[in-house]
Amino acid sequence: MTRDIAKYRAAKWNEPLIMEQGSPGERGVIPIEAEDEIQRKVGDVAGSLPKKARRADLPKLPEVSQMQVLRHYVRLSQMTLGMDVTPDASSGTCTMKYSPKVNEELARMHHIRELHPLQDEETLQGLLELMYRFNRIMCAISGLDEFSFQPGSGAQGIYTNACIIRGYHESKGQIKQRNEVISTAFSHPADEATPHVAGFKVITLMPGERGYPELESLKAALSSRTAGFMVTNPEDTGLFNPHMGEMVRLVKQAGGLCAYDQANANGILGISRAADVGFDMCQFNLHKTFSAPHGAVGLGCAAVGVRKDLARFLPKPVVTFDGKKYHLDYDRPESIGKIRSFMGNVQTVLKSYAWVMALGADGIRSVAETAVLNNNYLASKVTKIKGVELPWDPKVRRLEQIRYSWAKLLHDTGVTTTDMSHNLVAYGLQQYMQSHEPRLVDEPMTLEPSESLSLDDLDEYAAALKTMSDQAYKDPETFKGGPYNGAVNNHDDAQFNDPKRWAMTYRAYQRKRDAAAKK
C-alpha cells in the first residue's frame, strides 16, 4: 500500500539561524580545564603570546545552551530529505540506495573512529586487512588487477584516472605529444573537467541519433595526440553504448589509455565488467554504487582500479600483504603521488566492504538486475503520464536510469521541468535531477530508482509525477507558484548571483541587509 501523498506536510520549522539564538552567558559545552598543577607550573601560556599573535576580541559565535543547539540541528535535519526518509528515485546519476545501519555502527567502533592515520602499521593491521580484502573484491567486480581507495569522491577518482594517463605518457616521454583526452557529452562532467585540470586538452564527442556517440565521431577525434578516453557507460541517459568495445579498441590502437567511469555501474554489476569491455582502468563511487551513505555531499570514496602494468602509477601508499602482515607501501617511484591526504575516507571503505559481504556474488547480481527492473518498471508508469517523453528510440531499453523530457508539458502548459522538480517536494519526495549541462535533452528529468526501492515506493513516486502533471495541465499558473507544502516556498534565485545580495556568511548578510535598509 502506498501512503496518501496529497496529505503530506513537510516539517517547516522556520528555524532562526543559530547565530540569532541564545543569550550571553549560555553555554553548550564547557571545555576541560588544565589541572591545577599544570596551571601552576606553566601559568597563562596564551596570555604570554606576543600581542599581535593573539586574538584581540572573542569571536562572535552564538551562546546557546546544549539542548537548544541539539534541537536546532535536529530540526534542520528534519528539513532534509535524506534517503532514510524518502524513496529517492529523484537523484539520477547519484544511485541513492539503502545504507545499512549495521555498517554505520561498525564504522563508529573505536577501532576505526579513533585511529590516527600515521600510527605504526603494526597497529593498523585490521584496517589494512580490510582494505586489502576489499581490493580483491573490487578486482573481481571489475576484472582489473589492483585498486586504490584514496580518492575522496567520484570526481577525484576520475581525476586520479586522468593523472594515471598523464603518468603513463610521461613515463614514455610522450606527454608533450599526447596531450588530448576524449570524452562524451553525456558522461559525468568530471570526465571532461578533471583531465583538463590535469593539463590535457579535452575533446567532447556528441551523441548521435541513437543517443550515444557513434564510432565515426570517435574516429574523427583520434590522432597521434590522443592520450586517453574517459567515459561513463551507460551514460547519464541510461543507454549502454554498444560500440564501447570497438571504441576502446580504436583508442588503444591509436596509443591511448581507456578509463571507465563506473558512476553508472549499478545496473551492470556482475553483468559487464570494465575488463570485459577492454578498459585499462576504472573508478567506482563507493558512496553511490556500494551503499556507503552520501553524507549530505560528503564522505565519498572512489575505488580506482587499473590493469597490472599500470599499478605502478597508483597513488601512494598501496596496501600490500606478505602472507603474514599487511604493509603500507610508500616506495613507489612511478606513483602519481598523493591525491588526497593519508589513505582517504577509510570508514567509507569499511561500509562498502560490509555491504558486499552481506550480498555475495548472487546478491550483487540481484542488485544490478533489480536496479534495472525498477528503472523499467518506473519507466512503464512514467511514460504513461501526460507530458513526458522518452528521448530517442523508445523501444531501446535503458538500464539503471533514464533521462526523460517534459518538453511536451512545457509546450502544452508553460510549466517547466524546473517547476516540476521543485513541486515534487510537496509530496515528501526529493526534487529531481534535471540534467548536467549542457542540456542536450529539452526539459530534462533524470530518475534513478535503485534496487532499494519497493514496488510501493515506485508506485508512490509515479503517482506524485502523475498528480503534478494533472495539476499542471489543469491550472498551470497556480502550479508554477509552488511548491506549497514543502519545507520552503518558491523563491527567487537571482539574489544568490547578485554580489550586492549574495551572502555566504551571516556577517555579510547583516552588512548587506543594513546597507539596503539605509537606501
Binding site: H116, G126, G337, T505
Partner: protein, 465 residues
C-alpha cells in the same frame, strides 16, 4: 541459507519473487535478460563473480567485520601523541548525535527545495567559521586542507595571470606532494626556507624569492612543526608588496586564542574542519575549507560550491541557494579550471555544531587549556636527560618538536619502544626534516590529562635509558 526462489534479500525488496514477477509483468518482459539484450554479448561477463561467501545474517556479518577491525589498536586503547594533519580532540556527544542523523547522513545533492535544512546548517557553519577567520566569504567544504591549498594557489594564478607560487619548506611532505600533483600543469612551485631556530617561515628567504611573477604565497600558522607565526604580518606584507595573494593555512580550533588570518591581512584562509568535533577516522575525518573577503573578484575565483542565504517570499522567511554555480566544473566541463564533487559536507555541518556548542568563551578556554597542557608536556619532556624539548624556539599551540640526539636513539627506535608501552609517540621527522636530527612531532590537546603526559614522560625516561 534462505531460498532465493522464495525470499528476497533484506536490502532488495523487489528481489522477492512476487514483487519481481509483478515488475516483469508491468514491463511486459519474461526475464531481465530482455533488457540486458542492449549489451553486446562479447561485452558481457559470463561467469559468476568470484566473491567470498556472504554473511546473510546481520549478526554473522557484524562478527566478521568486528573480527577484522578489532586487530587495530586505536587511540582509545593507546595513549596517542600523533598530530601532523589529523588531530585528536574531544568530540562532544551532540556532534556525534547530529552526525548520525539519518536525514543528513543519507542526503546528497538535493537542492534548496528538497534539503533546505542541510543548506541552512552549512550556511551557519560558514558563518561561524567566517567569524573565527574574520572573513565574509566562506565556500562549502572541500576535500581536505591540502585540496583547499591547491585550489587557492590555482585561484591566485588565475586572478593574477602569473605562473609561480611559493610554499613553505615547513609543511608536511604529503601535503606538498598532493599540492604539487594538482598544480604542476599550471604553475611552478618554489619552496621558501624555514628559520632553523624557530621552524617558522624565513622571511628573508621569502623576500628573496617573491617577485612580480609570484601569484601566491602560502604559509601555515601554526606551522607544521607547531610554532606560531608571530611575524605573519611580515609574510603577508612581503607577498602584497609584489602583488601576490597571501594564503594562510590555519587550524580553526586555535583561533579562540590566536589572531585570525584577517588580522594579519591574509587574502585567503584555508584549513580543515576535522579539529571541530570530528573523530580522526584514520584520516577520514578531514574536510577542507576556503575563505576570503566578500569581494566579487575573489568570489568569482573560487571554484567550489558556494551556499548563500537569501530572503523568501514570506516576510522573515530565509531561503538558501547556490551562488554562481556556473563557475563549477559541472558547467565549465572541458575547460574547467578546478573540480569539486562529493566533498566532506557532513563534516562541514558538524564543524558548525561544534562551534555553536563551544561558543566564544568555550573556544577561547579550550585554546588556553591546550596551550597549557602542551607547554607542560614540552617542559617535562625537556627535563629528561638528553632530550631537547621543545626543540624549536618560540610559542606553539598544541604541537612541538622533541629531539633525541642527546641519547643516541633514533626517533623510530623511541617510537617502537613507546608502542610496546601502548603509546603512540610523536611523528618521526628524521626523514622529512633531516636538519632536525632525530626528532619527533608531538601533539598534546585537551584529551590529555596530566597523568597521560606524566606517563609519557616516565615511559620516555625508561626508553632512553
Amino acid at each position: 541459507m534462505p531460498d532465493s526462489q522464495k525470499f528476497g534479500h533484506p536490502f532488495i525488496p523487489n528481489s522477492a519473487p512476487k514483487a519481481r514477477e509483478r515488475a516483469l509483468k508491468e514491463i511486459g518482459i519474461k526475464d531481465v535478460e530482455d533488457i540486458y539484450a542492449t549489451i553486446p554479448p562479447e561485452l558481457r561477463f559470463k561467469d559468476k563473480l568470484d566473491l567470498p561467501k556472504p554473511f546473510l545474517s546481520e549478526v554473522a556479518l557484524r562478527r566478521h567485520v568486528e573480527g577484522i577491525i578489532s586487530k587495530n589498536k586505536s587511540a582509545h586503547e593507546y595513549l596517542n601523541f600523533l598530530g601532523a594533519g589529523t588531530w585528536q580532540h574531544y568530540v562532544p556527544a551532540v556532534c556525534d548525535e547530529i552526525a548520525n542523523r539519518g536525514e543528513f547522513l543519507t542526503a546528497y545533492g538535493g537542492g534548496p527545495y528538497g534539503d533546505p535544512g542541510k543548506l541552512q546548517a552549512l550556511f551557519e557553519s560558514q558563518s561561524m567559521l567566517g567569524e573565527m577567520l574574520g572573513m565574509e566569504a566562506v565556500a562549502a567544504p572541500t576535500y581536505d586542507w591540502s585540496a583547499a591549498v591547491a585550489s587557492a594557489l590555482l585561484m591566485a594564478c588565475r586572478l593574477s595571470g602569473r605562473r609561480e607560487v611559493l610554499v613553505p619548506e615547513n609543511m608536511s611532505g604529503e601535503r606538498h606532494a598532493q599540492i604539487w600533483n594538482f598544480v604542476r600543469p599550471h604553475t611552478a612551485v618554489t619552496k621558501v626556507k624555514m628559520d632553523a631556530a624557530t621552524g617558522r617561515l624565513d622571511v628573508k628567504d621569502l623576500k628573496a624569492k617573491v617577485s612580480d611573477k609570484t601569484a601566491g604565497v602560502y604559509f601555515e600558522n601554526p606551522t607544521y612543526l607547531g610554532t606560531i607565526e608571530t611575524e605573519a604580518d611580515a609574510i603577508v606584507a612581503a607577498a602584497h608588496e609584489k602583488g601576490a595573494l597571501a594564503i594562510a593555512g590555519v587550524d580553526p580550533i586555535t583561533l579562540g586564542v590566536l589572531a585570525p588570518p584577517s588580522a594579519y591581512g591574509a587574502d585567503v584562509a584555508v584549513g580543515d574542519y576535522q579539529t571541530l568535533g570530528i573523530h580522526m577516522y584514520g584520516g577520514g575525518g578531514l574536510g577542507g575549507f576556503m575563505a576570503c573577503a566578500d569581494d566579487p573578484k575573489l568570489v568569482h575565483g573560487l571554484s567550489t560550491y558556494l551556499i548563500s542565504v537569501g530572503d523568501g517570499q514570506a516576510k522573515g522567511e530565509r531561503v538558501f541557494g547556490y551562488t554562481e554555480f556556473h563557475r563549477t566544473h559541472y558547467e565549465t566541463r572541458a575547460v574547467a579550471v578546478d573540480y569539486t564533487g562529493t566533498t566532506q559536507w557532513l563534516w562541514g555541518i558538524i564543524g558548525g555544531v561544534y562551534l555553536a556548542l563551544l561558543g566564544p568563551h568555550g573556544i577561547r578556554e579550550l585554546g588556553e587549556g591546550v596551550m597549557q597542557r602542551s607547554r607542560y608536556a614540552a617542559t617535562v619532556l625537556g627535563d629528561l636527560d638528553g632530550v631537547r624539548s621543545p626543540r624549536l624556539e618560540g610559542p606553539f599551540f598544541k604541537e612541538f618538536v622533541v629531539n633525541f640526539d642527546g641519547r643516541k636513539k633514533t626517533a623510530a627506535q623511541v617510537n617502537k619502544a613507546l608502542l610496546d608501552r601502548k603509546i603512540f609517540g610523536g611523528l618521526d621527522l628524521s626523514k622529512e626534516f633531516p636538519s632536525l636530527g632525530q626528532s619527533a612531532l608531538y601533539c598534546v590537546t585537551e584529551v590529555h590529562t596530566k597523568d597521560d603526559i606524566d606517563t609519557l614522560a616516565s615511559a620516555l625516561k625508561e626508553v632512553l635509558k
